[in-house]
Subunit: 198 residues, 2 copies
């Protein structure tokens, strides 16, 4: 059985980004810098949690996490992460627009999937086998997978800010029974990991 994890940095009120995500503001408007401050300013303190984010055999992400563009692809755009993205495995990007796979350095290949959540999940599971698939975000994509009952483990990284608007975790997701597996408070973030009980 594939084990499906999911990491998301969120505000205390559950937003993973503000409104109007775009090239010069990938997380949108508002005090969104706080969401990732712990990663940038205190990476050593949060090494275990940061390492775990990219410790999967395949990844799935939404189009909006891969690209600031909407609509047809700009073939020049190869993601936010430079030539050697941190995934080092296949990454399945949900999109409505076909595009050839994109092989990066270090083992990351972006595959563009137009068949929706189940299609992406099937392809990622085929790669991961009994290993791990990570639903990499953003909140809208994670909500789709939570609603479909496909996530085993939800790892939240809660940053000290409220945003009030943007993409919100759990929006439209039916109530979930969770089991708290672990958690830890670092200087700039509270980590909590839940198992989704099915």
């Amino acid at each position: 059985m594939t084990y499906v994890t999911c990491d998301l940095a969120v505000s205390v009120d559950g937003f993973s980004s503000g409104p109007r995500q775009r090239l010069d503001r990938p997380f949108g408007d508002g005090a969104v810098d706080v969401l990732t401050r712990w990663m940038i300013e205190t990476p050593d303190e949060n090494k275990a949690e940061l390492d775990a984010i990219t410790a999967a055999d395949a990844f799935i992400m939404g189009r909006n996490m891969f690209s600031p563009g909407r609509g047809e692809w700009d073939p020049e755009w190869t993601g936010w992460w430079g030539e050697d993205p941190p995934y080092h495995k296949p990454v399945f990007v949900l999109t409505h627009h076909e595009r050839d796979s994109l092989e990066m350095r270090g083992g990351t290949t972006f595959h563009f999937v137009t068949g929706g959540v189940e299609d992406a999940f099937g392809r990622a599971r085929e790669v991961a086998g009994d290993g791990r698939v990570s639903i990499a975000g953003g909140a809208t994509t994670i909500n789709q997978f939570l609603t479909a009952g496909l996530i085993d483990e939800l790892r939240l990284h809660v940053a000290p800010v409220t945003l009030g608007t943007g993409d919100r975790l759990f929006d439209g997701v039916p109530p979930l029974t969770l089991e708290q597996i672990s958690g830890r408070t670092a200087s700039l973030v509270s980590h909590v990991t839940y198992r989704v009980v099915r």
Copy 2:
């Protein structure tokens, strides 16, 4: 200066109660028992956080936290907590309906305040002086105090469940800058304390 704290047990999606709060379901519908499981099943493990909830010199709560009734008062109703409520100090209850103060055993006196948030806050501050006022809940009342900029310290007790509906912390509150003061993960709950930056 009075220091204003606030404790709230919430679901991971920020709800402090489900819909339709009533006499036989004080927290309303849904898996709301999870919100208080940590208090009931693991009080020793959470003694510090539980003690802190009632460690103030005056308290303010919403009508819906004091009573399942709405509208005119039932004079027989003296709160959910029996003859000796855990507050042992003056408790100012926000209401639209006048009622004489209610002196309980152990030092708790419920005062019914019809002049709104500022009125209740003024009276509680007069009692507390340089001590502490606790905004005891529920979410709707806390949201009013957050919006008014009156809360110094927000202590959340996050239980492993999502509710999806009910009274939600931060609803209608403008974005807040927070400073994470402390936090701790216990078996059935994650505690996080924030200072509200003004």
